[in-house]
């Protein structure tokens, strides 16, 4: 399941790269930073990405999931630091 989740996140990033015209996201991997100083995503782009991932996860696993909730989005140790942390977070939510 973890591999599927990571694949979904990377696919969403590739689509976002087209919308943002940001080629750096085309080579997204588990180390790709999603938010913070080393990321190319601003807060709007990140929220949009998360909302897209929610829809894709729902479609893939046939389960409604809310990742962009107040708790996650305000967390001091953000689950959205990078692709790997987001993958782990979603995996925990689905388990």
């Amino acid at each position: 399941m973890q591999i599927k989740i990571e694949k979904i996140i990377v696919e969403a990033l590739v689509e976002l790269s087209d919308e943002l015209e940001d080629e750096s996201l085309l080579k997204a991997s588990k180390e790709t930073r999603l938010y913070g100083a080393s990321s190319s995503l601003d807060s709007l782009a990140l929220v949009s990405l998360i909302a897209d991932i929610e829809d894709r996860i729902s479609e893939e696993f046939e389960i409604d999931i809310v990742i962009a909730d107040e708790k996650a989005m305000s967390a001091k140790t953000s689950p959205f630091r990078d692709v790997e942390s987001l993958t782990n977070y979603i995996n925990e939510q689905l388990s």
């Binding site: 601003d42 709007l44 929220v47 909302a51 962009a68």
Partner: protein, 180 residues
């Protein structure tokens, strides 16, 4: 449903003014503001008095559960209308994303403004990118500031973009209202 109120500065209590100023004077806010100076409560309250009969400016505090979370504003309305925002770090990314969309929508619907501007510090790349995603375009840049502009039609187009339309769906869970 998460409910947020945007309240005119002139309607805030003294305690709320202190909370607002505390956020405004935070290092991370001042670093991104056009003015880096710390504002005293006396200076702030004197300045707020000047807002009361000034139709050229609109300054609103963001409030949830009685707590001040930041401020959003529109000024220079009669000439080159500009907007600005500052929020406490504790605000979620969803609020930081939804609030500008709500506010800019409100501006274009309630004021005879066809173009909205923003002055942003050149080093604030996050804000520049953020405004671009709202539809703003770069108009001018010098060593310190970037001037960006957003036409009403461009904002409507941006709202239809994949990036913003995914975020706009979140309004189903978040409610913003204005108290004037």
């Amino acid at each position: 449903m998460h409910k947020f109120i945007l309240k005119e500065y002139s309607l805030l209590s003294d305690t709320q003014h202190s909370q607002l100023l505390e956020i405004r004077n935070m290092d991370y806010v001042r670093a991104q503001s056009l003015s880096h100076s710390i504002i005293s409560i006396d200076e702030h309250l004197k300045w707020v008095k000047g807002l009361q009969h000034d139709s050229n400016r609109l300054f609103l505090a963001l409030i949830k559960d009685e707590k001040i979370l930041g401020g959003i504003n529109l000024f220079n309305i009669d000439e080159r209308a500009k907007w600005g925002i500052f929020l406490a770090e504790s605000n979620s990314l969803i609020v930081k994303s939804l609030l500008p969309i709500f506010f800019i929508d409100f501006i274009f619907k309630n004021y005879s403004i066809n173009r909205l501007y923003a002055d942003i510090r050149v080093e604030n790349t996050n804000a520049i990118s953020y405004n671009k995603n709202l539809g703003f375009q770069l108009l001018h840049q010098d060593s310190e500031l970037v001037l960006m502009g957003l036409e009403k039609e461009k904002f409507l187009d941006a709202k239809s973009s994949k990036i913003l339309s995914r975020i706009i769906k979140k309004f189903a869970l978040y409610n913003f209202s204005i108290e004037r």
